[in-house]
Symmetry: C2
């Protein structure tokens, strides 16, 4: 995401004045947004549009068992949906505009669980997890719809060390920037699960952790939804614009000779 700076001459009649043209990197960050179980690609569509406005290529998609493939709902396994995510990632990266070293993955709930695992097999620079769910490794090849709710609740009620779970293990190796957003009143992803993820991200370049007060798991009321949007867009702006700027500055340090920045003189 490095900008390019070039010194140019601008003709004015028979004379030439000096200028500097700053051009953004021709490739843009790519952002992949993963809905939760029971959602679909529309869940993240408005966020995708807002993030695209930062100058990114964004991809939303339907996990199998949802929308057009709803008939697979009872049989689809976490492993299958993980394959969906990898396929969507690869499709995004194959877009010629996308800078493969600047990929952001955003996921909610089950989508956050899959997103964490994705970092073990594909390069991810920025990872945003809203109420990331957690499943046992043994659930990987079980039908998602068949996973025992009671067993899951017990599993999620304890803080799990990263070495005991593949999703947390992937998190523990992740070296990029992380956003974790919790819902204060979450009946599915309790505070212990969020703590397990937070503990796991020991190698992260940065961690931004927010709790949305009064929110339930699915952000069913509008105020928490707005709060999440604000948190996500602000974080994405900081990360993506920050990376572009850092890039620009680096180039400038290497390329530019001349006087340091001066101000207007006081005369007008």
């Amino acid at each position: 995401v490095t900008a390019r700076e070039e010194e140019i001459g601008i003709k004015v009649g028979t004379e030439v004045i000096a200028g500097r043209l700053i051009t953004p990197h021709p490739k843009t960050p790519g952002v992949l947004l993963v809905h939760g179980w029971g959602g679909n690609q529309d869940h993240y569509l408005s966020h995708a549009r807002e993030i695209a406005a930062l100058g990114c290529v964004c991809l939303v998609f339907d996990l199998r068992g949802h929308a057009a493939t709803e008939p697979q709902r009872l049989t689809v396994r976490p492993k299958d949906n993980f394959d969906d995510l990898v396929a969507a990632y690869d499709r995004l990266c194959n877009n010629p505009l996308v800078d493969r070293e600047a990929i952001c993955v955003v996921g909610s709930s089950y989508g956050g669980f899959l997103a964490s695992l994705l970092t073990a097999v594909r390069p991810v620079r920025w990872l945003a997890l809203r109420v990331p769910a957690l499943y046992k490794d043994e659930h990987w090849t079980e039908a998602k719809a068949e996973i025992d709710r009671q067993e899951l609740e017990e599993f999620r009620s304890e803080i799990i060390p990263a070495y005991r779970n593949r999703a947390l293990g992937a998190a523990s190796f992740f070296a990029g920037d992380v956003l974790i957003v919790e819902s204060e009143h979450d009946d599915f992803v309790p505070h212990t699960v969020i703590t397990s993820y937070r503990n796991a991200f020991q190698e992260a370049s940065s961690l931004t952790y927010r709790i949305i007060k009064g929110a339930d798991h699915s952000l069913s009321s509008s105020e928490p939804r707005r709060a999440y949007s604000a948190i996500l867009i602000s974080w994405a702006s900081e990360m993506i614009l920050g990376a572009r700027e850092a890039g620009g500055t680096n180039v400038a340090v290497a390329d530019v000779q001349g006087v340091p920045g001066t101000l207007d003189s006081s005369e007008a």
Copy 2:
């Protein structure tokens, strides 16, 4: 600055899942930054880099009579520097990346005066003027350095109606978005000049007017400089990202069929 949205199929093994790819407009806004009398292109370089990080092509340049053409300081006329600005504008617009319908011009003091006039002869969508100076129409072909300071002070001490001055006249026809930034303690551009400009911008789509407390004309101390940076970057972000988003949404309304945005189900 309109984004493009396309519905795509993503292959996963022998199956296909549905997705939507949102790609920013291949052209980017162009931003031209004009220093004041006695400044040079470095004045706006750090701002140009920050704005480029929003995904814009930026151009800074030296007005004649400054930097390499310093020997012309005593003879260069406002008309000459206006020609410089037009030449720089045209050079920016000739960049194949630049969207000619999304040009922003940023100017300080004398550069703000020239920028206001530019809008009469070239398409400008966004105009940011910091302490824009004002000169009499008769000064146009006088050497800038020879303009009588006393006469200028008297001229600037009164509120001037737009029809009596070309720079204000250009402002009165400008239909884009405007930022005006005043310095609280300005010995060169008094509040009356700022008021003349504010009064002139009757047709503007939006007007953002800020006074930097404790600032002098040249922002010689660091706190006002930081305040100006924050004001300019925040305004540029709102304008440029807002335009991209509006573009994206318009396309979506036209192109997209399907269910309205839904949330995650409550199951995780």
